[in-house]
């Protein structure tokens, strides 16, 4: 019995660019052709890509705000509640002496704010990633740019043509 023909499925393609201008041009073209699920790999953050992708503001700032405010509240609550827990007058100062407690509140604001900011980055950037990302090439951390486009067979073929026309050095299947 003959082996049935293998159907080649191409879920997407990755274009490898040696030039920033070519990569931005390709991205702009792909965007104008309504490719929604685009990923750009770049060795350094580039405003040119951000402008084309028109992303929303990162929500990391909310993590910073919530972390900082929580830390501030916790720091003050900690110093005040433990001072009230055993009311011992020291140095003739009130039991709840806010000026020195500002230091505890401040340090906790920074500590919790910083840790929440890091957590915000990890959650939003979807890190840690344990599996290999689609289309990633080690050259993207060195000196090449990559654009990954997904879609149906026709879209993928069109994306390949757009990338090649823009100046991609290679276009590979992902």
């Amino acid at each position: 019995m003959a082996t049935p023909p293998v159907t080649l499925t191409r879920p997407g393609v990755v274009g490898v660019f040696g030039s920033l201008d070519a990569a931005v041009l390709a991205l702009r073209e792909l965007k104008s052709h309504d490719y929604a699920n685009l990923t750009v790999y770049t060795p350094v953050p580039c405003h040119e890509f951000d402008a084309v992708l028109a992303k929303k503001e990162s929500p990391v700032r909310l993590f910073t705000l919530v972390g900082g405010l929580s830390g501030c509240a916790l720091g003050f609550a900690y110093a005040i509640s433990t001072s009230l827990d055993w009311s011992l007058v020291t140095g003739g100062k009130p039991i709840v002496s806010l000026p020195p407690f500002v230091i505890i509140g401040f340090e906790c604001t920074i500590l919790f704010g910083a840790l929440a900011t890091v957590a915000g980055m990890f959650i939003n950037a979807r890190l840690p990633k344990l599996r290999r990302a689609a289309g990633y090439d080690p050259r993207f951390s060195n000196d090449k740019y990559g654009i990954v486009a997904f879609g149906g067979p026709a879209q993928v073929t069109a994306a390949e043509s757009i990338m090649r026309a823009a100046g991609a050095e290679e276009v590979n299947d992902v």
Partner: protein, 458 residues
């Protein structure tokens, strides 16, 4: 690891003949973490010997008690507290360079900030040893943490020593976080050039970072907010350390100028230490193409600025002592300059106020060997500044019958030597396991491949 490539040629005055490409940056910086040569092992052997001697001194102190030190009543804050403040101060320029200069968009920071940040973390780790060394009964070190004792009494939050615990531990956590977060894209770059088990280890340490637009978007926001949080933190930490003294009534300590005075001194000493570290690092790894003379010149300018602030603080201290009309305050400051500790005071003034005046001359600012020598004097001067503040004040308090003279003995000097070796050990390990320069940020400062846009980055 990537195949070793020939190092970039050294340039006259450190200026590159041609701008490096992105691939050059990756290659040149990853070359620094290739397996170490004989020089590294020899240096490490020297460092570990010094550390072993420090450990031996501490072991004697643990066995026989604090009596083995040179402590002389009433001077019980001696070289340990001096060296604690010294190391906390050293830690400051790392955050200044990485956070404050980031917020000011000073492009020159990219070549030097990684080494400065690493220096910060290791300096705080070194500083953290000294309260434990100073305790005597080191096995009770956990008493510094704010938890209730067996009677349910919590720590006294009105005490500057408790503030110090919060400030230093927050600073250590945040500066280590800042360092490690900044390293993630660079660790990914190392992973992509590595092979075998190294690739796996760096892969784990990079958290699977892939340089995608999503990752960069959130990463850059995180970096900005971490910088924004670190900036007030760095100013607060040395202020809090200064209040360990300023909250006391000891003449020479009880001054409102202490917080800004200490912060300026800390940044001054930190910039000095960055120069001390960068000169051999640049030479050993042949990084003249990246750490250029202009970087050293900018660091020298920072030293000059902060030295001016420190000098102004010295003058203000003496002026206030005179203007206060307080005879005890006046006597303390007279004693500092002309009493038993005149040698320490004049070492401090010479190194911190007079010597940096040489930095007004461009020829000196751009001569790396001269800058290296000046940076050593900055380190010495700033250690003596803390010694003068702490020891000369305690040695000459209110009651003449209490006046005394303290000098550190070989146990304390051995522990100080050990602390420098402890710091150097961590730094030497760091530069062999992680990129000591920021790969991604240096690339950002270069023109991107295939475009007319000049570099500049964020």
């Amino acid at each position: 690891m990537a195949a070793a490539a020939a190092p970039a040629p050294a340039m006259p005055h450190g200026a590159p003949a041609a701008q490096p490409t992105y691939a050059d940056v990756t290659r040149d910086i990853i070359r620094t973490i290739e397996p170490p040569g004989r020089g590294w092992f020899l240096a490490m052997a020297g460092i570990l010997s010094g550390l072993a001697f420090g450990a031996f001194c501490w072991a004697r102190q643990l066995r026989w008690g604090m009596g083995v030190t040179g402590y002389t009543p009433p001077i019980f804050w001696g070289t340990y507290i001096t060296t604690f403040v010294f190391w906390v101060g050293i830690a400051h320029s790392g955050t200044l360079i990485s956070a404050i200069l980031f917020l000011f968009r000073s492009g020159w920071r990219s070549a030097v900030y990684r080494a400065a940040e690493a220096m910060t973390v290791f300096a705080v780790m070194t500083a953290g040893l000294f309260p434990v060394l100073h305790l005597g009964r080191a096995w009770f070190a956990y008493w510094v943490f704010p938890y209730p004792n067996i009677r349910g009494l919590w720590s006294n939050f009105k005490s500057p020593l408790v503030w110090d615990v919060f400030a230093i531990s927050t600073y250590l956590t945040v500066s280590a976080t800042f360092l490690f977060m900044g390293l993630i894209p660079d660790i990914a770059a190392v992973r992509d050039q590595a092979v075998g088990w190294r690739r796996k280890v760096y892969g784990l340490l990079s958290f699977g970072w892939r340089n995608s637009d999503r990752e960069w978007q959130h990463f850059m926001r995180m970096y900005l907010y971490l910088a924004a949080l670190s900036t007030p933190l760095v100013l607060s930490v040395h202020s809090v350390v200064s209040w360990d003294f300023a909250m006391g009534i000891v003449p020479g300590w009880h001054a409102t100028i202490f917080a800004p005075y200490f912060v300026a001194g800390a940044i001054y000493s930190g910039c000095g230490m960055v120069i001390t570290i960068l000169v051999p690092l640049r030479k050993a790894f042949q990084l003249e193409r990246y750490v250029q003379v202009r970087h050293f010149e900018n660091l020298a300018k920072l030293c000059l600025l902060t030295s001016s602030i420190v000098t102004y603080a010295y003058i203000t201290e003496y002026f206030v002592a005179w203007y206060s009309g307080n005879p005890i305050e006046r006597a303390t400051f007279y004693n500092r300059a002309f009493g038993d500790y005149w040698w320490a005071t004049w070492t401090m003034i010479t190194c911190n106020a007079f010597m940096p005046q040489l930095l007004w001359f461009k020829k000196i600012r751009t001569s790396i060997p001269t800058l290296f020598v000046i940076s050593i004097f900055i380190n010495i001067g700033m250690w003596f500044e803390r010694f003068v503040i702490i020891v000369s004040s305690l040695a000459h308090e209110f009651e003449p019958w209490q006046w005394a003279y303290y000098r550190p003995n070989w146990i304390e000097l051995g522990i100080i030597l050990g602390s420098f070796c402890w710091f150097s050990m961590w730094f030497m390990l760091f530069i062999k396991f992680f990129p000591s320069m920021a790969i991604a940020e240096i690339k950002e400062s270069l023109p991107p491949p295939g475009t007319k846009r000049a570099g500049g980055g964020h």
